[in-house]
């Protein structure tokens, strides 16, 4: 993999059309946000919230998501329900 030669790199991902083309967004950046961001709602009638705990075990490289969860103080017990 090359590491770049420009000190500053802008990654605009929104095109002029109303919906951004999917491939411009790096998956890692998206996963940072959709796995560890967004509203977390738990309740009796919720089937499941993203079981990030499980994701951590099987995709050990995604430790980042679990760390974020731990830092936010979220109750992992709720998520496992």
């Amino acid at each position: 993999m090359s590491t770049e030669h420009t000190d500053y790199e802008m990654q605009p991902y929104r095109s002029e059309s109303s919906v951004a083309p999917r491939d411009h967004i790096a998956l890692v950046d998206l996963l940072d946000r959709v796995l560890a961001g967004g509203v977390v709602v738990a309740g009796e009638i919720t089937l499941s919230v993203a079981d990030v705990d499980m994701v951590m075990i099987s995709l050990r490289a995604l430790v980042t998501s679990v760390s974020a969860l731990a830092e936010s103080g979220a109750d992992l017990g709720e998520l496992a329900r």
Binding site: E9, T46, M54
Partner: protein
């Protein structure tokens, strides 16, 4: 529909006219619809439990190809609608048994959801990552002139000297890069309404060898986006020891958090 289904929730907005949603397809290629309650609308879709139910999710979330496709589809809906007005994104894989459950959630969390909507209204999320610049091999030692008074130094001793110079230049560079990343974050936080640090991304996922020193999200007033981008450019020039990467605008994923317990104005209360 004969197969059991659940309701996948993408986001919550202030009331939205339902017909305008129908052109969007969601994670299960289902048409996206709105479920309204308490003056709010949840953007949702009916999805088969065979693929999106709890046990199916445990399996599928471990499949990177499925995770990628689903994350992108989830984002696609949020991003498309986010352009029409403030939207509080849901975390990936928020699935309810039925629409009534979604409506009940809206009723229960209306105060918090409205507060979140007003906080992010007219704001955008932008991401900034900083990497330590790859050091040029051998350069510190090459630039080092022969030390005065060195007299005759054997090849072994001179090898050690070179290694010491390289290691100390390297650790100095590392120290400076970390200080730069901190300075960048402090300056950019000053331009933002809110800032949030994400853990550095694992190199196995990014394929980038340099060490990531900063992975931050900033909530900006829409009108300051250009000023922010200019600040990033300026900071990159001021801090040559780090490489900066700007991404955005994003829906406000990193700033959508609600308090752990709903705010009913009546103090603490068990959620369930």
């Amino acid at each position: 529909m004969t197969e059991p289904s659940g309701v996948w929730v993408y986001a919550v907005s202030a009331d939205v006219a339902a017909p305008s949603l129908s052109e969007l397809r969601g994670v299960g290629d289902e048409p996206v619809r709105g479920i309204s309650a308490a003056g709010l609308t949840a953007i949702a879709g009916d999805v088969p439990l065979a693929e999106f139910g709890e046990s199916a999710l445990r399996r599928n979330l471990e499949d990177l190809a499925w995770l990628e496709a689903t994350a992108r589809a989830h984002h696609h809906v949020i991003d498309a609608l986010g352009q029409r007005g403030p939207l509080v994104p849901m975390r990936l894989a928020t699935v309810y048994a039925n629409g009534a459950g979604v409506a009940a959630m809206l009723d229960e969390r209306a105060t918090d959801l409205r507060a979140a909507l007003s906080r992010i209204s007219a704001h955008q999320e932008w991401g900034v990552k900083a990497y330590a610049q790859q050091s040029e091999p051998g350069s510190p030692a090459a630039a080092e002139p022969a030390r005065s008074g060195a007299a005759r130094v054997g090849p072994g001793a001179s090898y050690l000297r070179r290694r010491r110079d390289e290691l100390s230049a390297h650790s100095q560079a590392r120290y400076d890069a970390i200080a730069s990343a901190e300075a960048v974050h402090i300056r950019l936080s000053g331009l933002a309404a809110e800032a949030r640090l994400h853990p550095p991304q694992a190199p196995q996922l990014t394929g980038i060898r340099s060490q990531m020193l900063l992975n931050a999200a900033y909530l900006l007033d829409e009108e300051r986006a250009e000023e922010f981008a200019d600040a990033v450019t300026a900071l990159a020039l001021e801090h040559p020891g780090v490489r900066l990467e700007l991404t955005g605008p994003w829906p406000p994923y990193s700033f959508a958090g609600l308090p752990d317990r709903p705010d009913h104005g009546a103090g603490r209360r068990r959620e369930h």
